[in-house]
Symmetry: C2
Subunit: 731 residues, 2 copies
């Protein structure tokens, strides 16, 4: 039972949930991730393996995308001539020759990072076999993918054939990225190598299949140009046989000769057993869970959801690579094309900054390595400093598409986020400073982080506009993306002030603690006294839209002139209010995708305003928010918890917890909602537990747990040391 | 959250689960039950209202069946001319003219017996309305069915039309039972009356619809021969309107003029409000839950499942009628045609005997009133006493069909249970004595129960066969229905001994405590000394198949000569091993549907054999059992718990808990598994908690809770007094 709180289960087979479960059952190790597609494939399945950093811009595509790598999963089995395949019991075209699936269970072990599938299959001959598949992407050796297959003759003495291969005929939902495909069979393995057509990244996979006993011989051959490992044998009733399929994966990002590396890696594993491979993998997982798990007593659904979401962050976070980052849909699907958004720094990063600081640092280094792209963007737009792209890939250039996919009527909607959602630069600065404050990683700050924080401050200093005797910002998009190209977004204006304050304070800190770095950065970034005075002036004179009568922040001037829509009246809606009213109408209303002012409250807390104003803000914006973004519910849960709105906080937390597990937005097929996953942890740790750094520099909790919870416990790193918290609810 | 452990929820609409949820969302009050079908209907829906006791034998049908009554649910709504209907989002034939369902949630409140549905619907015109439906079958006034409808104009100012009616054009999955259908519209109601064609039962329903404000006028008219209540009105944006639909239901079993009664009942409720009707209904539910709830701390899934199953027993149990009983599928579907099996006395009855003794007594009185039928059956078969039918309806005659429905190849399988599953008479005796021991209801025993126990003992005395210098029983079917017409079923033989022992002891008890009844029954049932001596002889010389070497009970001689099938190797099967191997092969194997010996252990406990033998029995029969019956997992959980097999007990308990909620047998569309529901409670209370009557006549627990459970508490009646138990698990 306790084990169940570490498991996602499918029983029996749910073909109607095929793509949803493919996403949930993704495995990975921070180097790559592979969706929970079947070894033998299934009609309508979306099988992908995403390797970090391999982007390609296909001819005719609007933007580059993370490339679906060759598929290392295929294992095709026939039983007495009947091909093993899953069956949709509602498919009336099925005949006895298709065999019958008479048993099925699939389990993702979150604690161990292993996906297990058990199937009972009856062939046309009447023979019944039990097939057990396990797979994992080794966390101990990130280039090694492991599959185990156990076949038992439950009834009859079946003749069995197995063909194992790597499928290089893959695409991103129809778009081809691979050229120069070379597939070969060696004496003990098959291999595939290929290059992305536009970007020229090389990939190589080598794969072997071996029986773990001498009951079957495996031959490696090429038939019709397709190399594969093949074996056939007879099983006596009650007999079992076990196979190990190992696949090594390298790209040109790992070295000059990925194929050589892949073949060498297989050679290293020549005498490995499943046990010898899985044991260090499981051990490694255990060390991660030590500071990534949060134990909740008294709420099994929440417990499982928190582990599930942390699992998906952990399998997406690069371990040994500081030049890649986590896209909005992690590595678990093709949604948002693998691009990196603010989702990473403000949503996904915090559980890593506190639980896995080394991994958090990798993600931040990705941004450091892309300062050039950010400076290019600033320059191209006529600004100074570093202006990060809204969507980022390998190059660091802006890769937000300018137009959406065609609508049913053939029209396209202009996407403005790449132009106007400029708060991304501040979001990155926020992530850096939060990481630094919890980790105490001065080295990172001095060498890398400070440069980002300061040069993005330089950008804002150049970006602000002096108008009406105050500083303003025009043409912005805040977190509420329903309202585009607005002037004086309270979120952006206020966070810019915060950013400049932080930049000034950081420079002071550097001058005291790392004077050489302070000097270096002052020179390099041209942080003249005049510039710093300008920042101070902006801080003092930035226009922060505020309604003195109502004592509320105003999302942007004119917001309340729009049509009012009472969002709570739209319950129990199964889609956003935007989708219900349609794009064209909803943008002319006060319906909010996610509340800018609530997001600002999450980030700044009491620093933003008095408790009264925060509550006024909540009462104003919450009833206007439709949570059209998956990022929204968790942040709102967090703020509701801090405002003491316990029931509402829990309601929103549950909503966030179910986004992927229940697919309550209907789009999990495109990948895990990475930001919602990280948001859930923040709602729990920052919201319900109230974790914070005290004025005297310690870390403490200020709990406000849901009433029915009994206890919450977790361990984080604070300034390099593990710190454990146990909060018991006193009803 | 705590509320969630009292709720079954559907969100969003799951058309692929339509019939499953119709069953789960059944409401009822022990007089009738109505499946969770929609007011506006849905293609493929199976809408039924089953009223206790109304059986009919259609021309050409094999057996009589419980009749689907006229449907009191229909409320048809159009919004600006668009008929409100649910939409299957995957249905590609849908056009904008069909409108769009943009929100949906359905909740069954188990604690209150109310089904609530909220829908957000956008008409073709663009108007959006929120519809809230509630319905309940009043527990306070069992002839009254209540529906509430609230419509809110969320967007636009829609023109709305409503038509409310009673649909008498109903059938049992195509088989028509109603004749003489009269449908009329009065000035303030519509009514329907009809008679079952063969059995001549009358039914009448009268229905009214009223707006709870003066915003809409309701007219009662007949169009095309269909009486209905109609209204139309316009709603201004943000405005709401509420309707109350009341339907009264009477049958000729309630009195001579059901129509008059139905109309009078509506008159009584002329000034009732929803509040005035729902309040006493909820209060009544609360009193039932006091002694029907079991609180489990530390296992939310089990908690919900136990409440869900108890709910379904409570809505099926007749409150004011001792001439009807609960069928195998309760009143929630057409499965098993509403017939009453052993499921009632050995599975469904115990939670009522201990929690709701008045309801238990009603169920047992049903059997008392059918003694004539049981005596007829005995006589027809050449035996004495009372031989209860395997399947029972209103008449008390045997109504088991002799043949199953045609197989795909056109053949039919002979059904032998009506001939050979004779243990039903002992099962009823068991239920009576268990009820008596816990309730202390001597009056029932003396007046009614004893006659059944003794006259069924008379039957067994005449049924046993003297062969091979011992008593034997040929041509039996035990709980394991895979093995038919066997000689010397250990279950039947051993339970016959138990039955005769109980009969003798009961007669002694009567002689001491109720000598007049003892004398009356001795005369009436011809309980001569000779007959009692014969019983003693049977007890002494009955053949109980037992393997002395292996120290196990033998299910029947020859069982171990059948082909052995290692059932555990068939995991994770999604169907029975019988279904996997096929009927013809599986009956020649040792695969067991549910273990006779385990069932016997549940019923007799340590009285059956030493702990060692019980464990040997378990180790022998458990690996041969495929739980092809939904009755099996709970009983096995119970016995496993008593044997200290904690993990296995919990595994089996979970299996039992999921039968209806997860539809893991795929047949919940036919109705709730009543026996599995009662079995779950027994696994919990008798198994995990070890509730039992001590030798000194008290009631006590002997807990063996699953390791991860924190606490279990429940209240039962023992000898007329409430007795509360709280068991805290000490890990």
């Amino acid at each position: 039972m306790t084990q169940k709180l570490w498991q996602i289960e499918e029983f029996p087979f749910h073909p109607e949930r095929l793509n949803h479960y493919e996403t949930l059952f993704t495995i990975g190790n921070g180097y790559l991730a592979t969706r929970g597609s079947f070894e033998e494939a299934y009609k309508g399945g979306i099988s992908t393996t995403m390797v970090h950093g391999i982007f390609d811009h296909a001819e005719g595509a609007l933007v580059p995308e993370l490339v679906n790598a060759p598929n290392w999963l295929p294992i095709n089995i026939t039983i007495d001539g009947t091909p093993f395949q899953l069956i949709n019991q509602n498919d009336s075209t099925l005949k006895p020759k298709n065999g019958a699936v008479v048993g099925y269970r699939r389990i993702l072990m979150l604690d161990k990072g292993i996906l297990r599938r058990e199937v009972l299959f009856r062939a046309e001959s009447g023979s019944i076999v039990r097939l057990v598949f396990e797979r994992f992407a080794s966390l101990h050796d990130e280039h090694l993918m492991v599959q185990r297959l156990e076949i038992t003759a439950v009834d009859g003495n079946p003749q069995i054939e197995i063909k194992s291969s790597i499928d290089s005929d893959v695409s991103n939902v129809g778009i081809k990225h691979w050229g120069d495909i070379q597939a070969e069979a060696g004496s003990s393995y098959t291999s595939v190598s290929a290059k992305t057509i536009q970007s020229g990244y090389g990939i190589a996979m080598a794969s072997t299949l071996r029986a773990t006993s001498n009951k079957a011989n495996v031959e490696f051959t090429t038939r019709n140009g397709q190399p594969s490992a093949n074996t056939h044998f007879q099983l006596q009733q009650e007999d079992s046989i076990e196979f190990l399929k190992l696949t090594s994966v390298y790209t040109s990002r790992d070295g000059d000769n990925p194929l050589q590396s892949a073949v060498a890696k297989l050679g290293e594993a020549a005498s490995a057993t499943y046990e010898s491979l899985v044991t260090p993998h499981i051990n490694e997982w255990a060390t991660y869970w030590k500071t990534s798990d949060v134990q909740i007593e008294g709420d099994e659904g929440s417990q499982l959801a928190v582990r599930f979401t942390q699992y998906h962050i952990l399998i997406a976070a690069p371990r040994h690579d500081d030049d890649v980052s986590i896209g909005a849909k992690t590595l678990s699907g093709t949604g948002y094309k693998g691009h990196v958004f603010w989702d990473t720094e403000l949503f996904i990063l915090p559980p890593l900054s506190l639980g896995q600081p080394k991994l958090a640092r990798n993600l931040l280094m990705y941004r450091y390595h892309r300062l050039a792209g950010a400076r290019n963007k600033a320059k191209a737009n006529g600004y100074e400093g570093a202006m990060y792209p809204w969507e980022s890939t390998d190059t660091g250039e802006e890769t937000t598409p300018s137009w959406g996919d065609p609508q049913p009527d053939g029209s396209r909607i202009r996407i403005w986020t790449g132009d106007s959602e400029q708060h991304i630069s501040t979001d990155i600065a926020y992530g850096i400073l939060q990481y630094w404050r919890y980790s105490g990683d001065n080295n990172f700050l001095q060498q890398y982080g400070a440069e980002i924080v300061l040069d993005t401050a330089v950008f804002w200093g150049s970006r602000v506009e002096w108008k009406n005797e105050r500083y303003e910002l025009s043409q912005q998009i805040g977190p509420d993306e329903y309202h585009e190209n607005i002037d004086n977004s309270v979120f952006t204006n206020r966070m810019t002030v915060w950013h400049l304050e932080q930049a000034l304070a950081l420079l002071e800190w550097l001058k005291t603690n790392a004077p050489a770095d302070a000097e270096r950065l002052t020179t390099q970034l041209d942080l003249t006294p005049k510039r710093l005075d300008h920042w101070r002036d902006v801080i003092a004179k930035m226009y922060i839209p505020f309604d003195e009568d109502k004592q509320i922040h105003v999302q942007f001037p004119g917001f309340f002139d729009l049509e009012y829509i009472p969002v709570p009246h739209y319950e129990p809606r199964t889609m956003s209010v935007q989708a219900i009213l349609g794009h064209h109408r909803s943008i002319q209303t006060q319906v909010i995708k996610q509340a800018d002012v609530v997001m600002m409250t999450a980030l700044l807390g009491d620093e933003l305003a008095s408790k009264d104003v925060l509550m006024n803000n909540w009462n104003t914006y919450y009833p206007r928010t439709d949570h059209g973004s998956s990022l929204s519910p968790a942040i709102h849960a967090w703020v509701a918890a801090r405002l003491g709105l316990d029931d509402l906080a829990y309601y929103l937390f549950e909503h966030a917890a179910e986004i992927d597990l229940k697919d309550n937005k209907g789009n999990v097929k495109d990948g895990i909602h990475g930001a919602a996953s990280g948001g859930l942890w923040q709602a729990l740790v920052f919201g319900f537990c109230g974790l914070h750094i005290t004025p005297d520099g310690n870390v403490a909790v200020a709990p406000r747990l849901p009433k029915h919870w009994k206890q919450v416990s977790f361990t984080i790193y604070f300034k390099g040391k593990e710190q454990e918290f146990t909060i018991t609810n006193t009803p």
